[in-house]
Amino acid sequence: MRSQNEFSYGGDATVKRPELNKEVSDKDWDNFVYNRKSLRGKHKELWQHISGCRQWIKVERDTATHEIFKTVKAHEDI
């Protein structure tokens, strides 16, 4: 168990940057940059172990109870 203080939040892990070299609509940019579901309940999010090994990880956490269900490396799928 590590202290929460060692970690820094990186936001919703499900938003995807529009692909390069493709036609991207304003709506796509809008969804990537600004629009969020911000779910109550299970939420997939990024965290960095900033005061530790500096790895980015993906975490599935309940936003109402803070229960953590799963953690994987940032490039892996939950």
Partner: protein, 418 residues
């Protein structure tokens, strides 16, 4: 409605204060309304009041899932100010300051508005320059702003740490003398009582669970106490906006985060203005009861918990003690949290939506208490006239798409660090 006055107070003293009218009725939902306001916080209550008062629309229900004023309205630290740099924010907030000054008379309810001034401390020359710029912008918009040097700040808050041996020495500060505080519950109760007296139904313990949208138009709302037919809905649910947006198939430029506050045991009067630390997030004022009221950073990750975690509180209070060391001697009485609708540019949204009859009021971040009257006033106008008022034109939902952001702090879209 019974007027609150010294004469009625004396009259009612003879019957042991047993014969006062109820301040508002506990209404049961009717089958149909002209307008339904979702959320019985400050903004919902004020909206209903101005719909009735300014637009003569009284067949209105406020639907509240808990009790009136039990959300952020009852959890905030009551700071009221208009010290903004951007025109849209400045003019909207200053319009609100005017409503605050008249509120107790207007509502016939003492909201204890106390224009005691706010001081934002600066801890470097660069910060003093930024404050000078903001102060000048404020004055150009007719808002009072005074740039204080170190000695002038020391005169107002001698209990702060003015020694040289500190990490963040106080260089000076920007003061808005007309800013202040008010009694948050009284604001909710005052608006509720007046709205009720003009015919608005205040329905508590009733949760909105869904919407009837046919052909892109609002037809009704579903609640835990039955379906209601209505053509116009005003959404004023602050930290629950994302939840209801999902039921409308909308994703919005808002995230939900938690903000904590705390108070110490009451002590004798020591601080007669609101003060913010300039090298981090910490602010403080003293309540009329004598408690030191303090707050600061968000908890730092999406949260609907309505209660906070210790690391943030510890961090915030460390800043407080750095600024005013005497605080370390006081006992903490209570801490609590509220869930905030953090918008992606830090400014609110008061607008129509792509669904006909659905009006959106959200994105208040941690500054929506001061906006209560102006938000209610402009939102009522937007709903009644089906078009935005000049004062809330800048608070459009489409500004994120068109790039007309109102980013007062220039922090970008990481809402949890703003």
């Amino acid at each position: 409605m019974q007027k609150y006055s010294i004469f009625n107070l004396i009259k009612n003293a003879f019957s042991g204060h047993q014969k006062w009218d109820l301040a508002w009725k506990d209404a049961t939902p009717k089958k149909e309304y002209d307008v339904v306001i979702i959320g019985g916080g400050g903004h919902g209550l004020a909206t209903a009041y101005y719909l009735a008062k300014e637009h003569n629309i009284t067949n209105v229900a406020i639907i509240e899932k808990g009790w009136l004023g039990g959300g952020n309205m009852g959890r905030n630290t009551t700071i009221i100010r208009s010290n903004y740099m951007h025109d849209d924010n400045a003019l909207f907030s200053e319009f609100g300051m005017d409503l605050w000054r008249k509120m107790s008379q207007d509502l016939n309810y003492n909201v204890m508005f106390s224009p005691r001034g706010i001081i934002n401390l600066a801890h470097s020359d660069a910060q003093m320059n930024v404050f000078a710029r903001r102060g000048n912008s404020m004055r150009l918009n007719g808002i009072d702003a005074v740039l204080l040097n170190r000695e002038e700040v020391k005169e107002i808050i001698p209990m702060a740490d003015f020694s040289d041996n500190v990490r963040f020495p106080i260089f000076g500060g920007l003061m808005q003398p007309s800013a202040g505080t008010a009694r948050h519950d009284a604001v909710a109760w005052g608006y509720a009582r007046q709205a009720d007296s003009m015919g608005v139904d205040i329905i508590q313990n009733c949760e909105v669970t869904g919407f009837d949208v046919v052909g892109g138009k609002i037809q009704g709302v579903r609640t835990s106490r039955g379906d209601i037919k209505v053509k116009k809905i005003g959404l004023c649910v602050a930290g629950s906006t994302n939840i209801l947006a999902e039921k409308l198939n909308m994703t919005i430029p808002v995230e939900t985060h938690l903000l904590q506050a705390c108070v110490t045991e009451p002590v004798k009067p020591v601080l007669d203005s609101v003060v913010t630390f300039g090298a981090g997030h910490f602010y403080i004022s003293q309540s009329d009861k004598g408690e030191m009221v303090m707050g600061g950073d968000l908890d730092g990750y999406n949260s609907y918990a309505q209660r906070g975690n210790l690391p943030t509180l510890q961090h915030v209070l460390t800043e407080g003690i750095a600024m005013m060391p005497f605080l370390s001697k006081l006992k903490m009485l209570r801490t609590w949290g509220g869930i905030m609708d953090m918008s992606m540019d830090g400014s609110p949204i008061i607008d129509k939506t792509h669904i006909e009859g659905l009006y959106l009021n959200c994105g208040w971040c941690y500054g929506g208490f001061k906006a209560t009257p102006a938000s209610g006033w402009t939102f009522a106008h937007t709903i009644a006239q089906d078009r935005v008022h000049k004062l809330n034109e800048g608070y459009s939902l489409s500004r994120f798409n068109t790039g007309h952001l109102l980013d007062e702090k220039g922090l970008g879209t990481k809402t949890w660090i703003s």
